[in-house]
Amino acid sequence: MNYVLNDRESSKIVEFIKNFARKNSLWVLAYGTGCGAIEIPPTMTSRYDAERFSVRGAATPRQADVLLITGYLSVKTLKRVIRSYEQMQDPKYVIGFGSCTINGGMYWDSYNTIKQLDLYLPVDVYINGCMPRPEAVLAGFAKLQELIGKGEANGWKHYKENLEWYRQNQQKLIKNWKMPDYNW
């Protein structure tokens, strides 16, 4: 047995296998913000049955791969979302769900909801619509799987590299910052 794992070809193969495994077992954190959470039960249950596309719910942040931001995000919720996101294990992905996460949606002039999600968390896939139907949600998951398969869903790496920039944006809104530092 005389093989080297560190040469370029074999690391490519290992990466391919890793990505294949990752994209075919997406565990979504069961956490709903805003009105979009109501579209998740039909997506998961028998009619649209997201499990056939290997998307399932996970109970805690440490077991989950995908964080769905379903709809508008108030500043108070943003704090909890950041904490949940930082507790998730690598690799982790964020899906922005509905027009509220893209540019504020119908809450564009609300004093208490954020307008652009990607200033605070690295978003891999946006699903537009108000609300997106379960078909659109599934299409979004399919897009995410495609990106993972190609190795392009690297929001979590981007978050670590640009942590300071994200922290700056987050702390501008969350004035009383009492959050633990995670040593990932």
């Binding site: 500043v75 108070k76 704090k79 893209i102 540019n103 504020g104 564009w108 002039d109 609300s110 004093y111 208490n112 954020i114 307008k115 652009q116 200033l119 501008k172 809104l173 969350i174 004035k175 009383n176």
Partner: protein
């Protein structure tokens, strides 16, 4: 149908009992009676309605900001479960020094409503116990439901918009421009 027997009874009994302390009492319509009093008498009016008249349930305490007249108007909404009649008791509070009596010993659920009013309008209830934060977190601006709080200005200061938002156009105007239709004068105020 609308003989308003019980509604008139409420008005008469309250007027007779409180005399000048009730500033105004009238039947608004079927099942709705409106009383107006002041902050000194609000507790006794509420207790009287609850204990003697049977208005057992406090539905809500709401607040109206009359900024032009420099006052807040608190509206206590009571419900009579047997007679199925609502009573609205209105109280004026000075806008610069908004203090109102705490009534959560009469109905415990008033505590939540009063905390919300304290947070959203800045009205102080004497002796109100409870955390200062109910819905908002770390809020250090004007109470946001006051009419002099400029929501749009606050949004523009604290949030940024993705470009492209600004060419969102008024639907009515866009359609009118496309079809060459004239928007009537009365409809113009509804378009953005």
């Amino acid at each position: 149908m609308a003989d308003l027997i019980y509604e008139n009874t409420v008005v008469n009994v309250v007027k007779e009992h409180f005399k000048d302390d009730i500033i105004d009492a009238k039947v608004r319509r079927q099942r709705r009676v409106e009383l107006r009093t002041n902050t000194n008498n609000i507790e006794s009016v509420l207790l009287f309605l609850k204990e003697k008249m049977g208005f057992l349930h406090l539905s809500h305490i709401s607040c109206v900001d009359w900024i032009e007249e420099n006052r807040f108007e608190l509206v206590y909404i009571l419900w009579h479960p047997q007679e199925k009649v609502n009573v609205l008791i209105k109280v004026d509070v000075d806008r610069l020094n908004p203090v109102a009596p705490n009534i959560d010993y009469i109905w415990p659920q008033a505590n939540t409503y009063e905390r919300e009013l304290r947070e959203m309008f800045g009205i102080q209830f004497e002796g109100l116990v409870g955390r200062h934060e109910l819905i908002l977190e770390d809020w250090d601006d004007l109470p946001p439901m006051r009419r002099d709080f400029d929501t749009l200005q606050y949004v523009m200061q604290n949030y940024t918009f993705r470009s492209g938002r600004e060419d969102a156009q008024d639907v009515r105007e866009t359609i009118a421009k496309r079809t060459g239709e004239e928007i009537p004068e009365f409809a113009k105020k509804y378009s953005r």
